[in-house]
Structure formats: C-alpha cells, structure tokens
C-alpha cells in the first residue's frame, strides 16, 4: 500500500494554516474596528458594563509592552500573530494577573475529555443505528427508533441539556446539577474522584450524544441506501455471501466513508454547541470559562478562548484528514 502523497499532506496542512490564520486575523480585526486604543477601549467597555478593574495602570503598561501598541498597525499585527500562535495570549482583564493561557489550559482537559468521549459515542452508536435501520434484516420495533432519533436531531444540545437537568437532577435527583465534580471530593487519581467525575459528566454527555446520534443515524441510513444500489453489492449477493458479511464488509465499510468526512465538517458546530452545554451545567471547561468572560467583559479571555477553539477544531480536522486515507484506500493517490 502506498503512503500518503506529498501533495495531499501539503494541501491539508495548507488548509490548516489558512484556517487558523484567517480566524486569528478576524479576531485581531474586530476590536480594532472600534475607534481608539484597543486596550483602553477594552477597559472602557468594561467600565461601562460595570466591571471592576484594579491595577488598570499596570495592566495597560504590560499590554503596551507586549503588544507594541504604540507601533504601527502592521507591526502590531505581526507581533499579535506571533504571540498567539506561540500561545502567549496575554493577561485576563478581570482576573489580572492571571494569564489567559493558563486559565484556558486549566479548563481544557474537562472540555476535551467530555467532548471527545461524547462525540465518539454519538458517532459510533448513531452510525450503527443508521446502518441497522437500512438493513432489511432489522426487526420492526427497532425501526421505530428512527422517527424518535430524528426528533432529537432537531433539538439543540443545550436545550436537551436543560430538559435533562430538570428531569434527572431537579425532579428525580439522581444525578448532580452542575460542576465537574463534587466540591467535597478533592481532585486526584483515586476512585472517589473518578466516580464523581463520571456522575457529573453523564448528563452533559447525554445531551450531546442524544442530539448528534440522530444526525449520524439519518446520514448513515441514507448512505447505506445509496450503497445498496451499487454494482458490487449485487455481485456480493450473487456470490451467496452471508447477509451479515455483505452488510458489514460491503455495505457499512463503504457507507461510513462520507460519514467520516462529514464528521470533520461537523466538528466546528459540535464544538460550538458544546460551549453552551457547558454553560448549562456549569461544567468547568472552556465553554463555562467563556460564559464567565462574557459576563465580566473580559475581552482578552474571550479572544484567547476563541483562538484556542479555532486552533483545536482545525487541528482535529487536520488529524482526521490525514488518517482518512487509512480507511479509504482510494485517497492515497493524487486525488483531491
């Protein structure tokens, strides 16, 4: 089997760089659309919306130094780019001298852990359901799941999250309301902590999983139907292979490919939706951090988070793109 062609890798890397660059530039431009010195402008905004900043003098100086705000705009831009991509995003406005990067990196593991697990479960289970729905051998009652999962698809994750919290926490009191873990349990690599984490993660994860599952199921069902009409399916039947084998090796194996591509495209919206889910559950991840930053008009944190999100999503897509040829042998060759 051949390796990845250079052209393919370069193209993907190029997209990655382009995306991150474009996103970062947008974030750079927006504050500067407002007249005046950006930092002072920020502080001014915060004052207007009622935020309270101490040490504003030192902060402004620190910013000026790092970002060369007295220099012409293109130099500012370059220094900004350089700082951002090396993950030096400055200080938080409301929690000075806390550094933006440090705050974000503390919250990252919570978000990553939950998001990755939930997305993976939704993808696997959703596609499995979709494939089974398209198979003639599936019994009637299971087929009834389709309309049900379809309904869930149209509900945004965070709304489902609200409903879940209300039902399972408020009414039934089975699962905790909010937070990443029980405040009484101190973080550490022990069983108690792990259980606590899991208990707190179930509802937010469910919100994401139930919603995304329907989407994958619907898509997979469609793909299986399309695949079913292909010539190689007919030949597989003609060979008298067992239905399960035809379904799996000839059907699913081919139908899943566009789904994986779709996963890449959907990552952006999954990340976005997840932010709000965290907010609902006060889950200590990046999303909740963003919410708090918005509340306190902490623009540097907001910008920092947005950069990390753009970077993270683009990186995930890059990884996905580079591993895709492993499942689709046709892509190893110079095809776009």
């Amino acid at each position: 089997m051949g390796g990845l062609s250079k052209a393919y890798i370069l193209k993907r890397l190029g997209m990655f760089v382009l995306t991150v660059w474009l996103g970062t530039t947008i974030i750079f431009i927006i504050p500067r659309l407002t007249p005046g010195d950006p930092v002072e402008g920020m502080i001014g905004q915060m004052a207007v919306t009622g935020g309270n900043i101490e040490n504003s003098e030192e902060m402004i100086e620190a910013w000026r130094q790092r970002f060369g705000l007295d220099k012409p705009i293109h130099i500012q831009y370059l220094r900004y780019l350089l700082n951002t991509v090396t993950f030096r995003n400055g200080y938080s406005l409301s929690a000075f001298p806390a550094e933006v990067d440090e705050m974000i990196q503390r919250s990252m593991p919570w978000t990553l852990g939950l998001l990755l697990v939930a997305t993976a479960i939704a993808f696997v289970v959703g596609n499995a359901i979709g494939a089974l729905l398209a198979w003639r051998g599936t019994p009637r009652p299971i087929r009834a799941i389709l309309p049900l999962s379809l309904t869930f698809t149209s509900i945004p994750a965070f709304m489902l999250g609200i409903l879940l919290v209300y039902v399972f926490s408020h009414i039934l009191d089975w699962l905790p309301y909010a937070g990443g873990h029980d405040l009484a349990v101190s973080p550490g690599w022990d069983w108690d902590f792990a259980v606590s984490v899991i208990k707190h993660a179930i509802l937010p994860a469910m919100a994401v999983v139930l919603v995304r599952m329907g989407f994958w199921a619907l898509g997979m069902r469609g793909m299986m139907i399309t695949t079913d009409g292909e010539d190689y399916m007919i030949l597989a039947e003609a060979k008298g292979l067992r239905p399960w084998r035809v379904f799996w090796n000839y059907g699913v194996r081919n139908a899943i490919l566009p789904q994986v591509t779709a996963l890449g495209v959907a990552l952006g919206s999954i990340a976005g939706g997840f932010v709000i889910v965290e907010l609902i559950f006060a889950y200590p991840g990046i999303g909740y951090l963003l919410y708090q930053a918005i509340l306190s008009s902490d623009y540097t944190v907001i910008q920092g988070i947005v950069f990390y999100v753009i970077f993270g999503v683009s990186l995930a897509i890059l990884v996905l793109d580079l591993t895709y040829p492993l499942i689709d042998p046709r892509i190893t060759y110079k095809r776009s």
């Binding site: 089997m1 292909e230 010539d231 190689y232 007919i234 030949l235 597989a236 039947e237 003609a238 060979k239 008298g240 292979l241 067992r242 239905p243 084998r245 090796n249 000839y250 194996r253 081919n254 490919l257 499942i327 689709d328 042998p329 046709r330 060759y333």
Partner: protein, 351 residues
Amino acid sequence: MSDTHDVLPVNQPETREVALEVKDLRVHYETPQGDVIAVNGISFEVYQGELIGLVGESGCGKTTTAMAILRLIQAPGRIVGGQTIIGGEIDLLSLNSQELRDVRWKEVALIPQGAMNSLNPVMRVHKQIADAINRHEGKQSKKASEERILKLFNMVGLPSRIYNMYPHELSGGMKQRVCIAMAIALNPTLIIADEPTSALDVIVQRIVAQTLLDIKERLGASMILIGHDIGLMAQLVDRIAVMYAGSIVEIAPVRTALTDPLHPYTQLLIESIPSIKERKPLKITEGLTHDLRNPPPGCVFQLRCPQVTEACREVVPPLQELKPDHQVACHLYDGQAILQPVSLSGSYLES
C-alpha cells in the same frame, strides 16, 4: 481454436447433458401504469460444456433473463413464473433464501457487466475472491488460499503482483479478469457472462474474449454469454439464441445462424453487421417496438417484420425445432417442424 462447432453430436439430444434448463420463465416489472413484461415465458437449454450466446437489442430482456436465473431481480421487477433447473436437479426458483445462498456461486456464477464498479473498492482483490471460497468451502488456510487464488490468476492471465492490490489500482481489463477468476473459483456448473467486454477497448476485448475461451476449454465450463455484438459472439460461442421483446425467436449453432438465419429478425440482425469486405447499404428496420405493457396478440415481432402474415397477428408462434439443434419461432415455417418425440425441452410440436 478448436472446432467444437462441428463436433457437437447432431440429432442426439439424449447424449448431451444439460447444465441449465429454463422453462417458461416470466419476469414482470411493476409500473404505475401496469406491468411491463420483460421476459415473456422463454424456454431453452444450455448443454454441458457449451458456450451459448444470448443476443438482442437493448431492452429485449437478455440481462433480465440472466438476473432471473441468478435470482437477482430487484424491485420493481419480479419473477412471475417458470423454472430454472441447474444440473438437472435443482430448480433455483424454488429454493428458499438460505438454500439459494448456499447454491449461489457454487452452481451458477456471474461475470458482471461493469467490472469497474463490481469490485468492492475498499477490499483487496484477493480477499474478494477468498470471500467466495471461504463462504462455500469453509475457511481455508492462508497458504492454501493464496496458492489457489494465484493459480486462478494464472489461468486468466493476471500477474501475481496484483494479489494485494485494491480494485482502483487495476486497469479495466484486469478488473474484468479478476471477475472472471472469481467466477471460476468454485468451478460452477454454469457461468453467466453479462456483456463482459462492453466497457472495454478492442484490444482488451480480445484478451478478455480469449480468456473466456480458455476457461471454457480448460474447465469445460458451461456459459451463457450475453451481448449485442454478434460479430464478437461469432468467434466465441457454440450456439446463439436471439431474443426480441422478451421472447426467444431463434436458437441455432452460430455458424448456421450467420450463414442461414431463419427468423426475419435474425436475418435483419445479421444483415446489419458491418463487413470489412463489402460495402452494404444501411438497412433500417421499419416500425417501432410495441408497448411492452400491452403486447399485441400474436407474434412479438409483427410490427416490424417485413414478412408478416395474418396468422402472425393472431397466434403466437411457438419455438419449434426445424433442423437439428435449430429452433425458430415463426409462422413462416409452420408445418416444417421435425417430428420428434418430446425431448428435454418439451417445446416440440407435432404438426
């Protein structure tokens, strides 16, 4: 090339074994305006070790016939009646799905029309052949499997280096030969080749055609070759069956069909074959095919036949044997049928 055409025993149907016997096969396609009759009660035999060609224009029902034998007809089509008896024992149309799956490929195999799309794009080629072998003969040891598949490749003229390749890495001709290798893997009683050379260029066509001949000779396989290129058929098949609008109009040894076609439709077909040797005026067949949902009573060819008579418009001419091994369905030859006791096909008449 062997002269098997002249060596076939004449007039001794009892000595030849029958690989496939089709009796009164009917296939309909459902449409909102009524059923389209795709195959209209055809009957024929394929003898052991022979290559019979099934020709006709597009839409005449030849591919549908092949699919019906394999029971691969999909909605909105359905098999409405008839029997397809393999090896003198098994009626494919009477099997349930489990039995059918067991019998498929072992008894009857398919060389599909578009090999381009008939191979699973995400599976290596050897695996796709091993699939069939393992299914019907149980899981083979890796070594045995490899040996066997390489031998199959050898038989169809494929290099062994393609063993681990994916379909998209092969050329059209190679893909087609992989399909042939796959079809002969279990040494089936009958192989159906559905226009195996249609999508290929002439040079590769030759190679594939030669491969099919080799297969026939080396394995003694019985084959139905479907196509519309009579010129190509002439070089490959022993007998030729001509189909029109869902019915068989003539079956004859290929030499005879070319030099002495009896049915008006066959005559028109032969005449339309371009010849390198002479310049022929283009003869266009008059008239249109009838509406397949509502065929007129009588012969299927009546609307386009240059020699149509009144009888043709009322009564369906049955397929009768006029000369040894030469059957025609045409009123022009009423009264000329050979008196024969009822033979294997049972479609003989006494007049």
